[in-house]
Amino acid sequence: MTFNPEKMLNRVVQEVPPSGIRKFFDIVAEMKDAISLGVGEPDFVTPWHIRDEGIYSLQKGHTHYTSNKGLTELRCEISNYLKRRFNLSYEPMSQTVVTVGGSEAIDLLFRAVVEAGDEVLVPEPSFVCYKPLVRLAGGTPVAITTKAENSFKLTAEELKAAITPKTKLLVLSYPNNPTGAIMTREDLEDIADVLRGTDIMVVSDEIYAELTYGRHHTSIAEIDGMYDRTILVSGFSKAYAMTGWRLGYACGHPAIISAMTKVHQYGIMSAPTTAQYAAIEAMKNGDADVALMREEYNDRRKLIVNGFNTIGLDCFEPEGAFYAFPCIKSTGLNSNDFCEKLLYDQKIAVVPGTAFGESGEGHIRCSYAYSLDNINEALNRIEAFVKKTR
């Protein structure tokens, strides 16, 4: 009997659609002189003193597993950091687990909490991983469409309309990839008002928390009645330019963290040891580096948003992360066609908004994790293309 691998595959894995941007990825990767505004990671390199600590830890021979939840010293530094920067108190031993990126923390939470029949609310446009991970955990993702006229914030009305008796969990991801939207304290209070009367949990993906411009980030965990039900997920990738180190963390109620740790210990054992030692240095001494990078991103943000508005691609002001989400409806093209034609005409890669949910139609995601010169060049080429469409 011939072995048929297709028949062996998990049904959910087969049904989860492949990433909508894969074909662009392949074309852009082969195109010479293409400028890609499609990246989702900083152009900065991890600050040297952080890299040096990682290297030093290897020289000292720290090449073994750490405790499942992560190095004690790192968990203490995470606790200190969250208190210092965001006024949040999490006990390092029982309320913190160090993970392989914020992505693993999200996955652990879903696997620890979501069961067949559970609905998980995902405001869209959103990071591409949430819905597939919910499905792989056996749950049902329910998209909530956020709107440009609300600056892509989740509103209380939208949330209320999406809640059903099966709703287990709300995914909040602000500052947001792909829109750059943030939720202020007042916005989060409105959401909390809806949630307080329920037992719906929240997973708050705050990986871009350090990258807010003009106002300090507020976590929903800080809002009255939200602390116990919220799992805060964050990491080192965006703030410290440590994407390749693969390190993140989750903080929350001891019972939830303990369950997440159970899954983590069987699947991963512990997060990379070298990365953990480097991360201790980042938490202790990295505030100034983060501030410098944030200032640099802010300059680029202002340049790119002004640039799109000048071109006639209406762009609401993103107040967080490093993405702009301009509207391309004035060109008469849909997101996919705009991106494809722009790529071939001007060798500029941007990501169609539909890659992040149907509500992204009519928009494109443009990263400004690039030098001012590159952004300038990209804007010039986009302008040339847009003029041709009119």
Binding site: V39, E41, V305, N306, T310
Partner: protein, 165 residues
């Protein structure tokens, strides 16, 4: 933004890239184009912005024979004028590309450019060393420039990030 913060942001931007347009400077500094133009004008007039020049890696210009030396000067400060009078005498020479008053074991750090080692050595021996206030000179020749004024000169690794992520 306060007025002072605007000016600092404007000079920082122009220092990094003076090819930014007025509109771009205005957008990043969060002021109007008119305000940006007025600010730049006042900065030029009050001697804050002293020029606009490209940063050049001269090693890439073939057959360009120039040598750069860094000279440590020890001097005797002059009565009533301190070091300023001496500095004025030194920086008037077109060969002198930079001049800084330093703390530590010498007084002036001088960058001199010439066509070859001999030219620079002659400049030092015939013009700098004989100056009345100069006590001693120590000349060092630049072999390779890695970084200057915040700009890295050596070839950097290409952007190796995944093109879409």
């Amino acid at each position: 933004m306060s007025e002072i913060k605007n000016l600092e942001k404007i000079v920082e931007l122009l220092h990094k890239n003076c090819k930014l347009s007025l509109e771009q400077v205005a957008a990043i500094a969060e002021i109007s184009t008119t305000e940006a133009a007025e600010a730049i004008d006042s900065l030029e007039k009050n001697g804050t912005i002293l020029g606009y020049g490209a940063v050049i890696n001269w090693d890439n210009i073939p057959n360009r024979n120039k040598v750069v030396a860094y000279i440590e000067l020890k001097v005797t400060p002059q009565r009533n004028n301190g070091f300023n009078r001496i500095a004025q005498q030194i920086y008037q020479y077109p060969e002198v590309k930079s001049l800084n008053l330093m703390s530590g074991s010498y007084d002036f750090g001088v960058t001199v450019e010439g066509d070859n080692l001999k030219d620079i050595s002659l400049f030092v021996s015939e013009h700098l060393a004989p100056m009345e206030a100069v006590l001693s000179t120590a000349t060092h020749f630049v072999l390779k420039c890695y970084k200057d004024d915040g700009v890295v000169f050596v070839a950097e690794a290409e952007d190796d990030r995944e093109v879409i992520s």
